[in-house]
């Protein structure tokens, strides 16, 4: 090495040399300026502060904002570039290099390599994700994290990709964003955004439609409010489910249903199970007779019970809970003769009693989903509330007056009644706390400043914007990027921690198929072990490789998994740079050249 050949300079000689070359040449003056320790201190401090601020930004807003304003912002990239220049220049200032500079140079070049690797990775590589279903179609495109707007040109019908992310651009009425429509003079103007667009059903008046109502359901206890529209179509009424809690229907007329208390007859034996006729109504009350036939006991389904000496209540009724038990007849020694019940003797050999029970109908908790039925009448909306097909409440509801439903503290209010209505769907920002999809509000604007109607453009859906006779279809959402192979999920396993439902790993077995050659290859992606394509050693080292890591799972569907995809051509430089930094610092701190 040339550095070892030259006689080592003493500190004084070096200082003099540097002073001399700075005076002699502009180049060296610039190198020493750019490589100055003051600049390094300034850059270290500002980058550290910016990063710290960004994390608080992320905590109070979101990662996307922190990225847009700091980490991926042009000024931050410029700062990092300046840092690279500073790092490079500082190694030049040490020229001529000596053995003692080894660690210093390795470390500083290591950082430069790492940063170059990061630039290559972000420019030429990509990150995305793919959701796979076991046994589903092979997937050949990866969803990236970049939002794009696909615009169908009215001129040739071709699709154009326009990079646009409403969550970053944050269009508003004060700061609208405009986008060109290829092959047209029209422009798309975005003037509002939301991250929780929802589809809402609205009751709208329509000439040929049937009667329609919109009903508001509220519960104070659970803090929920829900408005549902209903219309009667020519083919009948409309039934909806309310959170799986109840069924709600709007019908041309209310169906007939039994109401009021149920009545049943039971033949009760002291020594055998009671005989209850099939198909009769049930109260759920159980009646028992003591061994000697002297005591009758009745118990309601909610545990209330009453006991009476048989003689006192014979031929009479007694109360148990809300039910009434009428003791019709008694046989001390029951026997059926010619189909007629008789007593063989007066001895209580086989005591039996016939009872008639009247009380609230029994409900089967498993299938007791309640129902609200409504129908239009001349005097208002008639409604009936039933459980197990038996009505427990009915009445006429007027617009704006709430009525209780008898399901916890739920109430219903008829908000609106239209004699001729239809249900229209409209996208719009949902209320606070509601899950929705991101999107923006847009309209078309002609060069003369006239505009078309505004529409909410939802992510993941096709929206048609209109200006006079021109219709332009736009699709907004995450960009899909084709890859040179397809991937299919063969198997997905979620082993659990012993004795619990907590996952201990996620194991996806996938099959890659080369789009050109049709060759297939199996891969396994589990925690900390990604699956790779092509996955050969060269690809793994250079990063010219698609890596699939476990990202998400769906507890409701164990045949579905989402994999994070990384293609990073900067990997080799990042890796070498990282190693150089660690080795360099170690040499700098702990390996000192022997003093001659």
């Amino acid at each position: 090495m040339s550095t070892t050949a030259a006689p080592p300079l003493t500190a004084d000689e070096r200082r003099r040399l540097i002073a001399e070359r700075k005076q002699r040449s502009l180049y060296w003056r610039l190198v020493h300026l750019l490589g100055s320790l003051k600049l390094a201190l300034f850059l270290l401090a500002t980058i550290a502060i910016a990063c710290a601020v960004a994390t608080f930004y992320e905590s109070s807003f979101n990662a996307k904002i922190a990225r847009a304003y700091i980490y991926k912002a042009p000024w931050f990239i410029f700062w990092l570039a300046l840092l690279c220049i500073n790092l490079f220049a500082v190694t030049l200032t040490r020229w001529p290099w000596q053995k003692k500079h080894t660690g210093f140079i390795i470390t500083h070049y290591g950082i430069i390599l790492l940063l170059i690797g990061a630039v290559i990775g972000s420019q030429l590589g990509f990150e995305g994700n793919v959701t796979l279903h076991k046994g589903g179609e092979p997937v050949g495109r990866i969803t990236t994290s970049r939002s794009v707007l696909q615009v169908e040109s009215p001129a040739d019908g071709a699709l154009y990709l326009v990079p646009f992310d409403a969550e970053l651009a944050l269009p508003s009425e004060r700061h609208p964003k405009t986008l060109d429509v290829p092959g047209s003079e029209l422009r798309i103007v975005a003037d509002a955004h939301s991250d929780r667009l929802v589809d809402r059903e609205l009751l709208t008046a329509a000439g040929g439609g049937g009667p329609g109502i919109s009903v508001k359901f509220t519960t104070a206890m659970m803090g929920q409010t829900l408005i549902l529209p209903f219309v009667i179509r020519p083919d009948g009424g409309m039934e909806r489910d309310l959170f799986g809690l109840a069924k709600v229907a709007f019908l041309p007329r209310l169906p007939q249903r039994p109401s009021g208390p149920a009545t049943e007859t039971q033949m009760v034996f002291a020594k055998f199970a009671p005989v209850i006729p099939d198909g009769s109504e049930r109260t759920g009350v159980t009646v028992t007779l003591s061994e000697n036939g002297e005591t009758i006991t009745a118990t309601t389904p909610d545990g209330k019970s009453a006991s009476h000496p048989r003689q006192e209540v014979a031929g009479k009724s007694f109360q148990v809970g809300e039910a009434t038990v009428n003791v019709v007849s008694y046989w001390p020694d029951f026997k059926l003769e010619n189909g007629q019940p008789t007593s063989v003797s007066d001895e209580p050999n086989n005591p039996a009693v016939l009872v008639r029970i009247t009380g609230p109908a029994a409900t089967d908790p498993a299938s007791s989903q309640p129902m609200l039925e409504m129908a239009p009448t001349d005097s208002g909306i008639a409604y009936q509330l039933s459980r197990d097909g038996r009505i427990y409440e009915k009445g006429i509801a007027n617009v704006g007056t709430p009525f209780a439903l008898g399901w916890a503290d739920w109430q219903a209010t008829i908000e609106q009644f239209l004699p001729n209505a239809t249900i229209a769907t409209e996208s719009g920002p949902g209320p606070e706390g509601v899950e929705g999809v991101p999107g923006f509000r847009a309209h078309l604007r002609a060069p003369d400043g006239t505009t078309g109607p505004a529409q909410w453009v939802k992510s993941g859906a096709l929206t048609t914007l209109q200006y006079q006779d021109t219709f332009i279809r736009v699709g907004y959402g995450l960009e899909l990027r084709p890859v040179p192979f397809t991937i299919a999920l063969k198997n997905f396993e979620v082993p659990r921690l012993e004795g619990t439902e907590t996952p201990s790993n996620f194991i996806a077995t996938v099959e890659f198929r080369d789009k050109k050659t049709g060759e297939t290859k199996e891969g396994v992606a589990k925690m900390n072990h990604p699956a790779s394509w092509p996955g050969d050693p060269l690809a793994l080292i250079t990063g010219l490789n698609y890596k699939f890591s476990q990202a998400q799972w769906n507890p409701q569907d164990l045949d579905e998994t989402t994999l994070q995809v990384l293609y990073d051509p900067g990997w080799l430089l990042k890796w070498i740079g990282s190693l150089a930094i660690c080795v360099g610092i170690f040499i700098m701190f702990y390996i000192r050249p022997k003093k001659s």
């Binding site: 270290l44 996952p503 925690m527 890591s549 990384l566 701190f589």
Partner: protein
Amino acid sequence: MRAVCLLLFIMVSTAFALDTTPLETLPVQEGGRKKPYRVFADESLLSMAGRSSVPIGDEKRSAMEVITGLWLEPEAWISQPLILINNLQLKEAAGLDASRKLFSHEELVQNPQFVALLQKTQAAKRAVKDGKLTGMDKQVEEVGMRLAEFEQLFRGDLFRVVANPDGEGAPWFTVRPDDPTFVALSTAWKENDEAAFAKAAAEFRDALARQAPEMQPPAWKLDLENSYQQAHPFRWAWILYLLGGITLAVTSLRGRKVGYVLGWIFAGAGFLCQLAGFVCRVIIAGRPPVSNMYESVIWVAFGAVFFALIFEAIYRSRFFLLGATFAAVIPLILADTQPLALDSSIQPLVPVLQSNFWLATHVLIITLSYAAFLLALGVAHIVLGKVILGRKPAAALYNYIYRTLQVGVLLLAIGTILGAVWANYSWGRFWDWDPKETWALVALLVYLFILHGRIAGAWAGFGLAIGAVLAFQTIIMAWYGVNFVLGVGLHSYGFGSGGFGYAITFVVVELLFTAAAIVRHLAGKKSAAPKSAAQAVS
């Protein structure tokens, strides 16, 4: 000394009438692993009452006594104060006695205001998107979880002691209530019959051990865990470190030699206690001991003493030992006395951490860098203390700080980069500005700033000490702040709550201490300036 007395007091106070020792090593399956019944009892009472024993009447009852009572005679405990409510606002809102901390299940569920609060919180939980509650709702939720723990114990659901022959991962069963050995055990308990209880306990154990013998964990492992649970090695470590630190401080003027030897002995003994504790935890859990805040706090204290012992062996200066022992005592006392904020129970890892290689390299190295910075902080405190007391610190101290910072910077750089490489495998990207990543970088940049400033001659002595203290605040942020304050990002398995007051107090005290030292330093400089201008430069 007070600590030792306290310890003896705790040990003595755990005596009780019936001898539950035969049950201690009974394996129980809970929280994704099998643990000895004694550990199960300690952890259950801790999560319900926030302490390891509870006062019932005039007596203190141990976890074994309470939990075994709940198992064998549940109805006797429904009206006993076992459920912790710390929050004063909550107690006020529910109309509970503000001076009490423990309440019985009965009085809580029969308190309409409290039940209304619970219902309101449940509604709030459904309403928020990610299920994360804040403020009062969070407090109520915590109490609700303690209530649920009580109810599960009361119903016997948690006592899964009957092995399942279906395989390693299969859930174990609870004992059938009519199982004759169990009936005998609970009868003996209710009748407080010592002899019958001992006999029934032995029979009960044997009957359970015969159940799927191949699924029973090895007895030595259960014994080891019980011994670890009772030995409190990390408590002994801080007591020994404290003794070592005090010895070194007291003998700094007179009896230096004897003091130094004693300091070495105390610090070494404390270090061995910690080492033994870590070995136990590693054997029990089968992984490196750095998976949660409790473990990392203890590990950092361990690392600080470890580096101090090495440096002390090289430099023989006593400052490393002095700085490290005091610096290690604080985190160890926190870990020992704040079981609700720092959970000491051994739990299985979340899937992403289940890689012993990466856990051992990335996490151990990065926390060791924290340890080195903690040691630098300890030595820097000696400098600042001397300055505040108006003494001139020895120049060697500044070199010691620099040497320690070097260790920290090297380890932090390696640890951060290893983290990026691990993230490349497990999350599928090398670096993506996750808050934990970013704060590790911020801390590294700040320490690099200090080291580069030293080369520039901006600060070499006193400034370096100030820097070591101030820069440690970024470590607090990277270590504690990201998980407990910011609460966003991918390192969510480490997120928690609590201890915020302690962290803020620490930071404020450090800043005040630094400010005081700077004021004294400047004052000293002014008065010294006429005499010798060169002195100030050092």
